[in-house]
Subunit: 257 residues, 3 copies
């Protein structure tokens, strides 16, 4: 099969930016198959993009190239990275987006993308998705060799994954993301916590096996699909009812205590 390219941007759907990236890719790699991961990440929110990428990576076919363009530093001297794990490869600005993708498999090779022979000319100051990322992705999808992209990178931007803290028999965590349904995805792992969950000190409820185990309109915690505890309201929105936001503190009992 031809190469699979998975796109993650904050370009939204109103502007033609994502379509233009696809045009550039297909002009240079007509056989490429392109899948959208998401283009509605909050503008320039690198952590939200890193979280979505981390969620998506394990489920894509071996050989998929993830192209992630959330790029507040576009046009500046920020670098561009290509990385490869055992199963996948990645193209992204060197700003931390790739920070959590390695949780699905460590990078075996990382390069700084500097070979501007591969770029669309003239390179604009504001749209490297079109002028840099798309043509480099097409080069790779068409069978180009990664060694031509640039030299091996010795360091790059990462931010720590926010692990929960344990204190006095309690596990203290945070809200990592809010999804479309208003579920608050936490950084707590179901096996590590027990008892009643709290969101900003307000009681949510105990861990249930699935949404319908709570009465309609009632809050509950469930083991979410990303491997973390999610706070939900059955047939409703936890985010709306609890005014929840990314970064809010959450807590539960320490299962190991």
């Amino acid at each position: 099969m031809s190469a699979l390219i998975a796109l993650l941007t904050d370009f939204g759907h109103a502007d033609p930016f994502v379509g233009i990236m696809k045009g550039v890719i297909l002009a240079r790699a007509p056989e490429a198959r392109i899948v959208d991961v998401s283009h509605e990440t909050p503008p320039q929110d690198i952590r939200a993009a890193a979280f979505r990428l981390m969620e998506a990576v394990p489920y894509f076919p071996d050989g998929t190239l993830f192209v992630s363009v959330i790029d507040p530093g576009v046009g500046s001297a920020r670098g561009i990275l290509w990385a490869r794990s055992d199963r996948h490869s990645f193209l992204a600005p060197d700003n931390g987006i790739l920070g959590w993708a390695e949780r699905a498999g460590p990078f075996r090779e990382v390069r700084a993308v500097t070979n501007d022979d591969l770029f669309l000319k003239p390179v604009s100051a504001t749209f490297h998705g079109r002028d840099v990322f798309a043509p480099v992705a097409a080069y790779l999808a068409a069978g180009g060799n990664a060694s031509a992209l640039g030299l091996a990178a010795v360091s790059w931007t990462r931010f720590e994954f926010p692990e929960p803290r344990v204190a006095k028999g309690r596990v203290l965590g945070t809200v990592l993301a809010i999804d479309r349904f208003g579920n608050a995805i936490t950084n707590l792992r179901p096996a590590a916590v027990a008892g009643t969950f709290r969101h900003r000190r307000r009681v949510v409820g105990p861990l249930r096996s699935h949404y319908a185990a709570a009465a309609p309109g009632r809050a509950l915690a469930v083991p979410g699909s990303s491997g973390f505890v999610e706070l939900s309201v059955r047939d409703g929105s936890f985010a709306a009812k609890f005014k929840a936001r990314v970064g809010d503190p959450v807590e539960a009992l320490d299962a190991a205590a």
Copy 2:
């Protein structure tokens, strides 16, 4: 040609859920072609999804597999259905989404999808789109036999299509859906009604052949593309001007009276 899979969900575009489903499908059925029907159905609104599916089905190629994931009961004991009409096949939770799809052609075979050998393990409690629907769709797209999915279903959830009532020379109907342009799609058939249309007793106007037959800003009724009368405002939004909502009463004269 390779199999065509048409996806209808309420997952939206901000989260990576639809992209992840595509990743799972393409990992197992690399040749599959995937088309989005809509992912912005109001969260957990089964009737809105059933209406969209009914609108879309007749226009897709023979052999298309429609995968519909609007699933408030995800993780509970609700069943999963596979169904086949003469032209298409369907995969959906057993919650009524498929209720109106049969209007495009009766189901010839319906099965309860129970063979968890086909699912992604572990099956999460909250994302069967990824863990159940996508891998089963891939199995079918790759040529798998439907008889392996599970036993024939003897009954399943349907809700009645809301047919208009006729009383004292008037046809009494309802608003089935509001589209992006603010048109209110009713359950009235153009040939069955006459005279002036009313929305919640307020006069809208007579049936016109097309939008531009009314003056700009004026309300009118037109024969809509789904085969039902639509209430519209030329170069404007009927929903905004008339504060229209799904379920509102509409009426006209009985053409047969």
Copy 3:
């Protein structure tokens, strides 16, 4: 490779309209590849669509067929155009959408699409995307001859591109579009202007090479990716901070003065 069809509509993502167009295309041209340019153009905003099309066209592969359906006159006597430049071809209502696409390359041939043998029957009064544009696009994608569409058109709807005016050493322009990030795209060309940019007489700042050349939260002008000056706020939204809208006056010094 099989034909590439690029879709630009104002149908949004909530309704199944775009999915239905793809169903119709793939039923008649199963090998066609389809790319979305944008479906979130403001409803019935022909100029916004013309601008997006102008931005996108140069970046798509030779042979791409652009199908643009922003069509407030649907169902009326408004015509339908097929046009061909050296690299691309186009299908659109005769309402001005194609007005600026020629800036990427002059049309060599324009036809009025009148051969209703190619349409889906019955043709609805409200959804020519499904009944006219999709089947005609499929006919062309499957190798059909454009001469069968209809006779050569001798005239069609265009609106002038709003060129800046020069007066007393100043260049007076306008905001052409606002993008998702809140950047205001003007009709000023970087090489033609100098000095400090103003938006509705309020000082924005001088032209910088890229966003990060300004301090966070500060306004600046940058050479945008469409070849025009864009007014921006670093790590923020120019549109929000300056209450900018399409059509607002902007000005700078005349570089030639």
